[in-house]
Structure formats: C-alpha cells, structure tokens
C-alpha cells in the first residue's frame, strides 16, 4: 500500500511536465558520479516532504562563514576594482565603523534551534524570543578561520515599500565556495533581499560589503561587473533567437563566434551541453535554465544567485543542476540558493538562513536536520491573535463532492471532497501553487464545474452556476489578489462595493457603514481603490463580503501582505461571522493563520485535498508533512 502511494507521488511529479515534453530527459554529459541520487531527494515521501511551508519567529542572527572549502580549481581572474561607496545613511556608517574587520561583526555562535513542541508555542501570547543560541553540533566548523575572508557581508539591510517592510535588518555572510540556502515562505522577503544584492533594488538602510569593502550596486549590470550573477525563476529570453544570439543580446561587445565557442567550452567543462545554434523555442525549461547558467558563467561569477531553480525542473533536471552547482562551489563560487523545497536545500546546501516577514529568524546547517525537524524548527512561535471561541457547529452548509477541474496551464483539481459546517471555519493549507487559485475559482464559479452536484449550498446544487447566481444562493467570496480581482484600482470605493453587491441589491449608505465598521482608512469621501493601502483595501474587500451576510464565505489569503492591525480586524470579523452561523472556508498558505482561525483543516497538495483534520488534534509538523504530499495515514 505504502509502496503504491510512493509510486503515485513520483508519477505525479513527472506528469506535470508530461504535456510539455517526453518524459525521457536528455542525458547530461560528463557527470562524474551521482552525488545526490534522485532517491535521496525524492525517496521516502512519507518522511520527507519535498516542499514544506516555512514559518518561524523573528529574531535576527547570522552565522560566520563555513570554513571547510576546497581550493579553487579555477585560475584566479582579474576583477574590476571595487569602488568605495558612500554609506547610505548615518547609521550605516556607524555600522561600518563597528564592523571594520572583515571577519563577521559579532562572534555569534551559529546554532540549531532547539525543537519545541508547536502546540506549546501556539499558546504563547506574545512574540517569543528565540532561545539562546547553542553551540553547533560537533563536526560542523564553527569559527571562521582568519585566512578565508567572506565574499559577501550584508549588515542591517532594510527595504520598505510604503508601509510594508519587505526586508528588515537582515544580516548575512557568504564565503567563497559556500552553498547557502535562503529559506522562507512566499512574501518572506527573500526575493527583495536578493534583488538588493543584484542591484535591482536599493536598500533603504544597511550596507553590502564585497571582499570587505562597502559597495553600492546601482544596477544589475553593476552587479554583474562585480561578479554577481543571478538566474531568475522566470527567464527573460527571446523565443525566436538561437541560444548564442540570446546570449549576445545580454553580452554586448562579444562576437557571436566567440559566444558560440564559449558556450561549447563551458558546456563541456560543466556538463551543460547546449548546442549554441538551437532556437530557444525548442528548449525545455531545464535547458533554458542551463542557458541562463551559461550566461552567468560567461561573466565569471563569484556569487551565483538561484531563485527557486527547481520549481520548473523535473527531478532529473534538478539532479543535473545540483552537480553543476557543486562543481561551481568547488571552484570557489558562492551559491545563494533560494527555495522553499527543503529536500533540495538539504541535498545541496551546507548553511541556511531562514526568513519570515522580512526578518532573519534562524540560521542552521540543513544537512544536520531532517526535513521534518527543519519544518518544525521554522514554526517557532506565533504572534498574538484573537482566538476563536468554540462555537456551536451545526449541519453542513457547503458540501464539495468529488470536485474535478481540468486546468490547462495550472493545477488540475483531482476529486476535492470536504464539507464546511454552520459555525465552522474550515482551513485549506498548502504551499503556493498546489491548486489554491484553481480551487477558489471553482468554488466562486469563475470556473464552474461540469457537475452541478459537485458543490452544494445548504443542499442546493450550485456547481454549474456563475458567481452571480452563487451569490444569490448565499455565498460570498474574497480572492487573494486585491487589485484587479477583488477590486478595481481605477474605480471608486462605491463602484467597487457594487461589484459584489449588484447581484443582491444595494443599500444606501452601505459604503460609509462598511468603512466605519471595518476601519477602512482613506482620504476623501469616495476615493479610488488604488489610493488605499493594502491593509485598508483588504479590510474593505473582506468587509464588503461580510456585509452581505453570507451563509458560506470563501476567502483566499485573507491577510496576505497586510499589517498586523488589519490582520487582527479581519480575523476578528471572520470569527464573528462564523459565530453568527456562517460556514467559512479559509484558503491560506500561512500556517499561523490556519492555527489561529480554523476548527478543521485539510491540506491541498498537487490538486488533491487531504482528509480533514480536527485542529486541536493536529501539529504543525504533521501539517508540514501533509503539505509535502504524505498521506494522513502515514503521518498519524
């Protein structure tokens, strides 16, 4: 039985690519030996989910560089001289002065966070500081030897977008040859952080030091000239051009003939076999990624940033990628590897920085952790949130029965079955891209099901109805994306209100009432939705639906990217609605939110929904394993 399920899991992971190309992968030449056998990463599924939700507390730490490193095989190359950059602010110049020696500023002993029972931590009322750092497990080099200067040192980096602090006081040290993972959920600030390193964004405060010198990286080209290369999650390439032509576009000053020759040379050297004259359109995602890596290698990187590289790869392609990255690291190139796939990180990286809500919350050696312990460690503590009062749970208001939606581009829903009952908040957890938006569209009627009976409201089959008729049947919906889906930025609040109320009639003064009841702050009597901050617009969107007094409310990511105050208002409103006898479905990637709100939870994984679990009987670890694709029976 167990063996069967493993087979199914692995098949599914292939099948998402099956439509695009044949399952057989072009063999990569010159792989010396399989360093990370596929089975090591994709092996016993029940024990090691390959994708685990990341969530943890908020104490910033960084660790000294790893000492163990192989001598560079690559001859030293001439580097452009590093220009001294003026400190960004007063504070940062102090930091520079304090941190004058190249060695890490504070001799903080890197530590493994002690594993704490999550249930206990959920009880903690306030943000609990991390326990004191403990000495690292023996065998892992702790102290940074004096002879290896760190390549990159980030000190106190912060970046805010309006009121949202995307990155807050992040410090990080990278040595040559180090394979360092940056872990965190979507929106934790990983991408913002690396965009600052790559010169796409400028930090508000803090310093970036390369080889011990503070630098200002104004643009990606400045980053490239300093030896920083980045492989993006989505490649920006010209489909109609050949590999060599695509590279020539981004490497001005090199002849096409040189580029062709270099592509072949690098291809042989690293096992990145790509024929330079092939058209981009004919390449698979993995091959396109190789082109991107070759592009970086042509610019002699000392630091290679990889943004979610395996999300587009098959297991074999990921395997081949790791061989290349190992090889590069052996030659002294530092790798900053962004991922939320813990198995990948454990297979590749010897150090990891964990981020949450813009802050560094932990550093560790992922190889000394199991995936489960990493996941558990990451869910450190929770911010105080209103607790749901136990309400009288009645009969099922929303019944979803074997809901199937075939999706061309996205995730297909495969037999979703659950019921949300009167007075209940039902959580649907899962990491990003497991079918959440497809499920929302199917429940809202934007993508109606073929079978009317697949969705029932109070016994009435609504599966084939459009959003308008489902609203009239007593449903309400709040999608994840605020501007452009839940609301229209170029319309006034009154018109945005009308978007979901025209089905059931408008009441005079309702918008003013809504703004008052949900504390929606904005200037003017009837401002455009685009003028509202994210938190205020989200309060408007959720409040708009709650004012309709629905019997079933479906919300996706109700507090995504909003400030803590707005999140509290929204959570309270949802709990009150449930207490009044509505059934609420919360689709969320935020485990803290699920724990704070829900009575029961099920996990969405590759378009399939697990058995619902009673919240009081479930731990974060167990949810993490379910998110990785394990079945309920294996976990409990």
């Amino acid at each position: 039985m167990e063996v069967d399920r493993q087979n199914i899991d692995i098949t599914v992971s292939y099948s998402s690519h099956a439509g695009k190309r044949p399952p057989s992968i072009v063999p990569v030449p010159h792989i010396p030996k399989p360093v990370h056998p596929v089975s090591a990463r994709y092996g016993p599924k029940a024990r090691k989910p390959d994708r685990v939700f990341v969530s943890m507390s908020d104490v910033g730490r960084f660790r000294p560089p790893d000492a163990k490193r192989l001598t560079s095989l690559r001859p030293p190359r001439a580097r452009p001289p590093v220009r001294e950059a003026p400190p960004v602010r007063e504070a940062s110049s102090e930091q520079i002065a304090n941190a004058a020696p190249i060695a890490p500023a504070a001799p903080v002993a890197p530590a493994v966070l002690p594993v704490e029972p999550v249930a206990a931590l959920r009880e903690t009322a306030t943000v609990a500081p991390l326990p004191a750092m403990q000495a690292q497990v023996a065998g892992d080099p702790i102290a940074a030897p004096e002879d290896t200067a760190p390549l990159l040192v980030l000190t106190g980096l912060s970046k805010a977008f309006g009121a949202v602090r995307a990155v807050e006081d992040v410090s990080l040290t990278l040595s040559p040859g180090e394979k360092h993972a940056l872990l965190g959920e979507n929106g934790a600030g990983k991408s913002t952080l690396v965009k600052m390193i790559y010169g796409v964004l400028q930090p508000d405060t803090g310093t970036i030091r390369l080889d011990g010198h503070p630098v200002r990286i104004d643009s990606p080209s400045a980053a490239r000239s300093r030896g920083i290369g980045m492989v993006f999650q989505h490649f920006s390439t010209f489909e109609a051009l050949s590999v060599a032509e695509n590279l020539a576009v981004v490497l001005p000053g090199r002849s096409l003939r040189d580029i062709r020759r270099d592509v072949r040379r690098i291809g042989e050297e690293y096992g990145l076999g790509i024929e330079p004259d092939r058209r981009l359109a004919s390449l698979s995602a993995g091959e396109r990624q190789r082109v991107e890596i070759i592009r970086c290698l042509l610019q002699d990187p000392r630091l290679l940033i990889m943004d979610e590289p395996t999300s587009v790869l098959t297991p074999q392609e990921a395997q081949a990628l790791f061989v290349v990255l190992d090889r590069l690291a052996e030659e002294g190139c530092a790798i900053l590897y962004i991922s939320h796939r813990l198995d990948d990180v454990r297979a590749l990286c010897q150090s990891a920085t964990v981020m949450r809500r813009g802050k560094v919350v932990a550093t560790c050696n992922p190889r000394e952790e199991t995936v489960a312990s990493l996941a558990e460690m990451m869910i450190g503590s929770t911010v105080e949130r209103p607790r749901k009062q136990a309400s009288l749970i009645g009969k099922a208001l929303l019944e979803v029965d074997d809901l199937r939606v075939v999706s061309g581009g996205g995730v297909s829903l495969d037999g979703i079955t659950f019921a949300a009952r009167r007075g209940e908040i039902f959580g649907i957890a899962g990491v990003a891209g497991e079918g959440q938006s497809e499920l929302f569209a199917a429940l809202s009627g934007e993508r109606p099901a073929r079978r009317p009976g697949a969705i029932r409201i109070n016994g009435r089959a609504v599966g084939a109805l459009d959003p308008l008729r489902r609203r009239r049947a007593g449903m309400a919906f709040a999608p994840e994306r605020r501007v452009g889906h839940a609301a229209i930025g170029d319309m006034r609040l009154s018109e945005n209100f009308r978007l979901t109320h025209h089905a059931t009639g408008l009441r005079r003064g309702a918008v003013a009432m809504l703004r008052d009841a949900f504390d929606v702050r904005a200037e003017g009597k009837d401002p455009f939705a685009a003028a509202l901050s994210g938190g205020n617009l989200q309060k408007f969107v959720i409040g708009r639906e709650i004012l309709r007094e629905p019997s079933v409310l479906i919300v996706e990511q109700p507090t995504w990217g909003v400030d803590a105050g707005a999140a509290t208002v929204i959570h309270k409103a949802l709990m009150e609605l449930a207490a009044k006898g509505a059934a609420i479905v919360v689709i969320s990637q935020d485990l803290d939110e699920i724990f704070a709100l829900c009575d029961r939870v099920a996990v969405l994984h590759r378009g399939r929904l697990s058995e619902p679990q009673v919240m009081s009987a479930v731990t974060a670890e167990k949810l993490g394993l379910l998110m990785g694709g394990a079945a309920v029976a294996e976990v409990s």
Binding site: P220, P252, P467, M491, A503
Partner: protein, 354 residues
C-alpha cells in the same frame, strides 16, 4: 523609458484632446509652410471655412452624422476593452442590407414603413458583421482586431460584386451602381435647401442612450469593469462572453445603421464607394471623445471639420484630398501621445549592460 506617474493631473487628462488639436494645428502650419502654401490662408480654409456659411455648416453636420453614430458605438466597445476596428465592414454590410430592402420593396407598398424597415435592416446587417468576430472570439479565442478588420474586406468585395452583378441597375449602362432607391426609402431632409437630414436626430438619440446605458445601468457597469479589470469583472459575475457579444452587436449595429443612413440620404443608391472611410475615422472619434458616447458626438464634429476643410482646400488650394487624412492621422497621433505623457513620464536613462 516610460515611468508611470503616481498621480496624473485630472485637469490635463480632460484637456488632452484640446492640447492634441492645438498641436495638430501647429504641425499643420509647419506642413503647409513646407509645401510652399501660405500657412495662414491654408489654416483659414481648413478650420474656418467649414463654419463660414449655412451650406458649409449643414455639410459639416451631414459628415458628422455617420461619424457620431459609429464613434459612439465604438466608444462603448473600446470601453469594454474590445477593439473592434471592423466598423467599415459593419458600415458596408448595413448599407447592403438597407439597399437590399430598399431595392426590393414592392411597388406601392405602404411607404410609411419602408424607411424604418430599411434602417432596421441596416442595423441588423451591421450587427451580423459585428457578431461574427464576437462569436469566434468567444468560441475559439480568435483575435477580435484581426477578424473584424479582415471582415471589412469581405464586406467591401461583397458590395462590389452585388453592384456589378445581381443588383446592378439595368438602365445603368454597365456602371457599377444599383438603381436609385424609391422615394419611400429615402431619409427626409431636415432643413430645406440643404442635405441635412433626420439622421442627425438618430445620432443624438443613440449617443444619449449609450451614455445613459454606460453610466446608469448594470450592463454599462459591467462593460466599464471589464475594460478596467477583466478578472474582477468576471469575479463580479459579468460574463466576458456576453459582454463581448453585446458590445460587438451594439457597435456593429450602429455602424450598420450609419451605413443605412448614408445610402438612404446622401448617396441614394448602392455603389462600390460609399465612404467606408468613416469607419476608420470613427476610431479617432471614439478616442477623441474620451471613449464617452456624448464626447464622441462632439469629436465627430471636429473630425467633420477636417473632411469639409480638406474638400475646400482641395478646391481652393489644389491640395490633394489625402491631406485631410494626414490631418486625421496627426490628430490621433497627438492625442495618443498626450494621453500617454499625462499618465507616464519620459525618463532618459543609460541603457543597462555592457
């Protein structure tokens, strides 16, 4: 590169068409000077002569009628984000359907009903030609722009074949023209002594009705929502397929009505050239009128000035007729440029790389 402005000036956004007209006049000045014509005199002929006397003023309105009818329909179409650029084809089909009814009306039939029937047929013809791209878009995702544009040529060739073949005038000595329409199918003249006809009332009523629909009805709300954010409109329960079909039927029908009005008033028969250029000029009308049906009414007058001014300049200055189209092109160019620069700012930046 272009950078989005945080808060575009609302005053400038309204003034954008005025600025565009002013820039067009300045550029016209330079153009005539370069052609060796007296720019002041040329400008006078272009922009003042259409208002000089009663005849010119009535002709201005005659030209504005089809432009306003098509332009106000296109305004709601573009408002929904559906780019119907096949109005010339819908106009031609309207003319064909209207001609079909007018030419085949039995002798001595109740004359009162003939004109309304003819105009209704024109409306239906335009709707049919607008429905085809909408249907293909809804069923198979075909591009509305391409399909509607290509149907324009189909319509023009259909008309050509009809007036050379089945519907050619037996007394026409082989000229590619149909017989003249019976009197009962002709538009009554509004002002005696001019060509100004009751189509003016139709254009005004159509624009007012569309403006009301767009701002006051649920359907109009759905159209605006879809144009601004298609996903949000679908979420609000407005079916994309229904909205596309609706705006294509309305804008096609109005273009067809314009064709019917034109052949029953100024042309009075079918011929290969029935001034389908109105269909493209109406795109300018729609944008110049800020995609607002009432605005389109005013913009139609502005475009009519370039037509009448162009004809006068052709007679008085021996300028080619195409100069009028140059003016129209410049107007659209400046208008779009103004709109872009009001919402975006130009930022000169070193090209990254190297």
């Amino acid at each position: 590169m272009l950078e989005r402005r945080v808060s575009p000036s609302p005053v400038l956004a309204i003034l954008s068409p005025v600025i565009a007209v002013a820039l067009t006049i300045i550029a016209g000045f330079a153009l005539f000077a370069a052609l060796g014509k007296d720019p002041v005199k040329a400008m006078e002929i272009y922009f003042l002569s259409p208002f000089a006397d009663a005849y010119n003023r009535s002709e201005l309105l005659v030209k504005a009628i089809p432009l306003a009818l098509i332009g106000s329909g296109l305004a709601i179409c573009f408002r929904a984000g559906v780019f119907n650029i096949g109005a010339p084809g819908q106009y031609t089909l309207g003319a064909i359907f209207a001609g079909g009814v007018a030419l085949h009306a039995p002798e001595g039939a109740a004359m009162i009903w003939l004109l309304p029937l003819t105009l209704a047929a024109g409306f239906v013809g335009g709707m049919l030609w607008g429905w085809i791209p909408a249907f293909l878009r809804v069923v198979s995702g075909a591009n509305v722009i391409l399909v509607s544009l290509m149907l324009t040529y189909v319509a023009a060739l259909l008309l050509d074949w009809l007036v050379r073949g089945p519907w050619t005038d037996p007394q026409g000595r082989g000229f590619p023209k149909s017989a003249l329409f019976p009197d009962g199918a002709l538009m009554p003249v509004l002002l005696p002594g001019t060509r100004l006809h009751w189509g003016l009332a139709l254009a005004v009523v159509a624009a007012l009705a569309l403006a009301w629909m767009l701002s006051r009805t649920r359907r109009g709300f759905g159209i605006r929502a879809m144009g601004l954010a298609p996903k949000a409109a679908a979420f609000a329960g407005f079916s994309e397929a229904k909205t596309i079909t609706y705006v294509m039927l309305v804008s096609g029908g109005l273009a067809g009505l314009a064709g019917a009005v034109e052949v029953t008033s100024t042309i009075q028969q079918l011929q290969p050239d029935i001034a389908a250029g109105y269909g493209f000029a109406a795109i300018i009308v729609a944008f110049l009128g800020r995609l607002n049906p009432i605005g389109a009414l005013i913009a139609a007058l502005a475009l009519a000035v370039t037509y009448i001014g162009g004809e006068n300049a052709q007679i008085l200055l021996k300028l080619p007729k195409n100069a009028a189209f140059v003016f129209q092109g410049m107007l659209l160019f400046f208008l779009l440029a103004c709109d872009t620069l009001i919402h975006y700012r130009l930022r000169l930046r070193r090209v990254a790389g190297g």
